[in-house]
Amino acid sequence: MKISKYRALDAAKWVASYSIIAVVVLFAIFPLYYVVLLSFSKIPSISNITISSMIPNFSTFTLSAYQAVAASPFFMWLANSLILAFGTVIVAVLVAFIAGVALARLHVPGKKALIISLYILTFFPFTSIVIPVYLGFAHLRLLNNFLGLILIYSSGTAIFGAYMAKIFIDSVPKDYEEAAMVDGESRFRALFTILFRIARPVVVFLALIAFIGAYTDYAVINVLVTHGSLYTLMLGLYHVSATASGSQTFAVNLNIFAAFSILMGLPIIVLYIVFQKYLTQMYSVSGIK
């Protein structure tokens, strides 16, 4: 009697679990499914979409939108985006990790006050500092300059990353680096090489956040870059296919916009899939806290 009741409850639990997940998966995937379909269509604008265009139809399948993207300087924009994104990953992860180690392991008087003030500085939205940043960068000749962009992209991620790294390292027993120091490694090497390896999940997480921030930025680069040769995919996308601002709908070349979006999104999606096992380990490496 008791066992059958338990079994029924268990079955109900699984039915509920899979139903909820099915709805969530549909919710997650629908907008992307919609873009994929559009990218293989000739649908030029939103007013041509109907419910039936949501069903894949091989007779109207076409690669013309992808050909249009290939005819644009897509690969130059991609190269620029990747330079910026990897530059940001290197700067943001190094700065965040070094700060995280110092906050977790080293005796630094006044660090609490320091942490809180750094944190509050990041409350200013970029939109509120864009004019002074523009004027300052013009003065320092950092307009149309990837270094300036990398520094801006890194700053926000580095602060959030320093806290993430600190919280993670706090949960790693000190024995690891102490053992390394007993083995004759210097304190610096012990802290960095050993902890960097153990903290790989959090490093991967920060690297992804840094990458995506730089790769998908529009607001910052739109203000600080005017040379066409420094355009990234995000600016290129706007250039090629979309006109949208405020609440106005973009009107032109919907299928090209879709194809461009898919090609632009692919590298990030691949990165996420490759590294997803680390993403779910951010908290789990050191075991019980």
Binding site: I46, L103, I131, T216, L279
Partner: protein, 303 residues
């Protein structure tokens, strides 16, 4: 002899002490370089009449911009809307993230890896592009959402140009953009709870809810607090969803402080009023954030 020895020690300590600060130098340098001057400048122009008319001859006018905001009362609804936007977004995000993470974390759940991969997609796709896609989907006359609703016999909803539906569209879109992130964060922290804990609780007859509240919750609540507070701050300042979906409209009814400040500065060229709005926004946010950080003890976690 003895004295020299103790000097050596304190020299050594001092050196150590300074070296420890060196580790923090990169982040302090970066933050000061990127944030400090622009912020100081922004605060300064909030006390001037810097605008298109006074582009070359801006003068200090004291608290006039702040008086304009508070005396005319324009800022109060905007503050309320910012709270609706932030709290209205963060609660569903955290709840959905928690629900999905709890389901995926059940022992015996099949297809966890492919499902998790699909759930990551909204986070992995460039948000700016996703928003443009959503703008098209919410479109009143041609949008796919209204077309699906028509199948169910529901009349066209004017999603982006009526206040209540506009909030619904904004919050659902924002939920889509962010729930993957919270799911990942919570799943990761739940996996730090060893399976044996759940097994032994099961043997002791604890049901699902007891296990959640007695085992899972205590070990993830720090992560939840941290994610929620950083999400609160991020959402408060998150500019694109409102700017691209409703542009703050209809009228001014979906402006948040950040978007309103941007519009004042870049649509109406009233830079000083925009700057004053940013300052007010940051002060309110900082007070709330410090309070939340203290109350949830996240401050002890990060410092």
């Amino acid at each position: 002899m003895k004295r020299a020895f103790s000097n050596e020690i304190s020299d050594d300590n001092l050196k150590r002490f300074l070296t420890n600060y060196l580790y923090l130098l990169p982040i302090i340098g970066l933050v000061l370089f990127i944030f400090l001057y622009p912020i100081a400048y922004g605060v300064y122009i909030s006390f001037t009449n810097f605008s298109l008319q006074h582009f070359f001859n801006a003068t200090l006018i004291g608290f006039q911009n702040y008086e304009t905001l508070f005396r005319t009362g324009v800022i109060y609804p905007i503050i309320l809307q910012t709270l609706i936007w932030t709290v209205g977004s963060i609660i569903p995000m955290v709840l959905l993230g928690m629900l999905v993470a709890t389901i995926l974390n059940q022992k015996g759940f099949k297809l966890k890896v492919p499902i998790f991969t699909v759930i990551l997609l909204p986070w992995a796709f460039p948000a700016f592009i996703s928003l443009l896609i959503w703008v098209g989907m919410w479109n009143t006359n041609f949008g796919i959402i209204n077309q699906f609703l028509a199948l169910l016999g529901i009349a066209k909803v004017n999603w982006l140009f009526k206040t209540v539906p506009a909030w619904g569209a904004l919050i659902i879109t924002n939920l889509w953009l962010s729930f993957s992130y919270y799911t990942t964060f919570f799943l990761s922290s739940m996996q730090s709870v060893p399976d044996e804990f759940h097994e032994s609780a099961k043997v002791d007859g604890a049901n699902m809810f007891q296990r959640f509240s007695k085992i899972t919750w205590p070990s993830i609540k720090g992560a939840v607090a941290f994610a929620s507070i950083s999400g609160f701050i991020y959402t408060w300042n998150n500019f694109y969803p409102i700017y691209l979906l409703t542009g703050g409209g209809p009228g001014t009814s979906t402006y948040s402080l950040t978007v309103y400040s941007y519009s004042q500065a870049f649509s109406f060229y009233n830079y000083s009023l925009g700057a004053a709005l940013s300052v007010v926004s940051v002060i309110i946010l900082a007070i709330m954030a410090v309070f939340m950080l203290k109350y949830t003890k996240v401050l002890d976690m990060i410092s």
